[in-house]
Symmetry: C2
Subunit: 362 residues, 2 copies
């Protein structure tokens, strides 16, 4: 019998190759001990660096922090929800939360005016985070353009002690803009360990694998400034990316590729009905050969977001595989689940507005 693994989605990215090539460690070791996060137990969070530090801090009830950045452009969609769920999970497990809104980055890279970027950070990101369960109490939120003294000081200090060769070895082709970005990321990640922000402690950064160069650079820099700041090299978890509803990349610039958390149930249903599935050319063929859930965007919605019960998910997987589940009915079920989620979520989001403004210091 063919080896089946209901937790592994197929996709364009060779995640195993990333582990092998860059020396990240597989997250599998934690898939049982940390199985209350769906993304860990299902291998969506597939790799890490130094997660042991974080696991120990969690276990021992010791201080640690979670640091993340958000790029305020476009709408907050289910791809972003995955990261938000991770943030909230770390918070529920004792992390101090640091969130940086990269308004400058969205301005310089995507031409989003700064005022609009700030508005998006608060109305799209913070409101959705809060509606998804983020508790404001120990959240340290800032905009890049707040130019926190302590962090820009770090960036300048780092600039004096990194070399071109080192940056080239990590990033390949360089430009002055890339160097600024890289050192800004390093300062973002390390500044929670400054005395005024809680001092040296483990920090975990949940990111996509494409961000690993920043993690490696930051870990190098942390070691280099160990004597001065007692930095602990930051840990990272690496997650897979949800594909777009029609296959390919989920992209803010293609509204059919994602479901926004502010879409109406009708808008969402239309996108779901048009989504790519793992179905066969004809109903007859599908009944005979079965579907391919690993390639199905509806199944991905279940796996990432809609179905937390592993047995229920497994049932769907096997029903699909044996041809007993057809795409039309499956899409309807998915649309209904999404509709229920959106209705509840949007009520919570509306209530979170004042809290979000407060968190942003506006």
């Amino acid at each position: 019998m063919e080896k089946i693994d209901p937790w592994t989605l197929q996709g364009a990215v060779d995640y195993q190759g990333l582990l092998d090539e860059f020396g990240m460690e597989p997250m599998q070791a934690y898939s049982v001990t940390h199985d209350d996060l769906r993304y860990i137990r299902r291998g969506v969070v597939f790799g890490h660096r130094d997660f042991g530090r974080i696991a120990n801090a969690m276990k021992g009830g010791k201080p640690y922090a979670m640091m993340t950045g958000l790029m305020p452009s476009g709408k907050f969609h289910f791809g972003h929800k995955m990261v938000a769920d991770e943030i909230i999970w770390f918070q529920e497990h004792g992390a101090d939360v640091f969130i940086c809104a990269a308004d400058l980055e969205s301005y310089t890279m995507r031409d989003v005016p700064l005022a609009a970027a700030r508005e998006t950070a608060v109305k799209e990101y913070l409101e959705n985070y809060l509606a998804l369960g983020l508790a404001p109490k120990n959240v340290n939120f800032w905009f890049q353009t707040d130019y926190r003294t302590e962090y820009y000081r770090l960036r300048d200090m780092f600039a004096k002690k990194v070399t071109f060769n080192e940056l080239k070895a990590i990033y390949g082709e360089l430009s002055p803009g890339k160097i600024f970005s890289a050192l800004t990321q390093a300062a973002d990640i390390l500044h929670p360990q400054l005395p005024e922000l809680g001092g040296p402690r483990p920090v975990v950064v949940p990111v996509g694998a494409d961000q690993d160069p920043h993690i490696r650079l930051t870990r190098d820099i942390a070691s280099r400034f160990e004597a001065e700041f007692h930095f602990i090299p930051p840990s990272a978890t690496f997650h897979k990316f949800m594909e777009g509803l029609q296959g390919g990349k989920m992209s803010s610039s293609d509204s059919k590729s994602y479901i926004a958390l502010t879409d109406t149930p009708d808008e969402a249903a239309k996108k779901i009905m048009g989504a790519k599935t793992g179905g066969r050319a004809t109903v007859e063929e599908q009944k005979k050969k079965g579907g391919v859930p690993e390639e199905c965007m509806i199944y991905a919605m279940y796996l990432y977001h809609l179905i937390d019960d592993d047995l229920a998910l497994s049932d769907i997987y096997h029903e699909c595989k044996k041809g007993a589940l057809l795409c039309g009915e499956d899409k309807k079920r998915c649309a209904e689940m999404v509709a229920r989620f959106l209705e509840e979520h949007q009520k919570r989001k509306a209530k979170a507005s004042a809290k979000a403004e407060k968190l942003a210091g506006r």
Copy 2:
């Protein structure tokens, strides 16, 4: 008869070569119209870029600004006084004054702790500026580590729009630290033209010729961001450097090379008595051949600082040239003039203490 020029000091630096090679313009055109600044009429300020804009603003009573940086390490000496005199002259001629204390730079480049750098900026630099005549009213003073939002935003924006090739063409060998420094300088110089700091207007930066690369880069960047900020390319004046009292470089790390404005008259006299002159090996030879004021550090003190009356200076020059003035008596006269200056100056400095604290926002 040999061509004589009482205003031109000999030195290691080929200033005419600088004008030729880098396309600065000679300041001579302004040596009559702007002869109330001793340094201009005597060719100490020997070159410029775009000074016409500044001359026009002065003449028309139009808004313009003067921007300068100070490196807070070591003692404030007569080399620094020259720059201070220029700053004050611009202020007296209608300039808004912007002064940046490069505390971060002195920390990262010279290992001066930040607190000590700030103390030096206030007690050594600001107090002396005020005692020399700086009026606090329209002075905008800041520390680099204040991390003014508007200016760090500029730096990041610039980083996205400059290329390596451009930086290499200007600076030669690069490092990440140099790139940060260069773009920091550009932001320093341009941020007075932001709307919140007075808007677009001519800005003059009085610097040594070694700072010309920053001026060129900043002028390029100003043009590139013209559409967005309406920047006017900054102007610059270039001054010669006073040599050290014993010849060679005047250096903060060699206290015999300079007279600090906080030296006692006795300390100053000792340094003057040990200074390099343009005297001959024997009194007889000097009486016969005459001295070489162009190579004399005592004469340099007169020319830069102690004698504002051109005729009086010219008399000394010719007396020396014809062998009628001997080094011993000349040094004594110089020491007496310095003693009188220091006594008066130090009284004014003591009175400036509270104003300096206020200007620094402490």
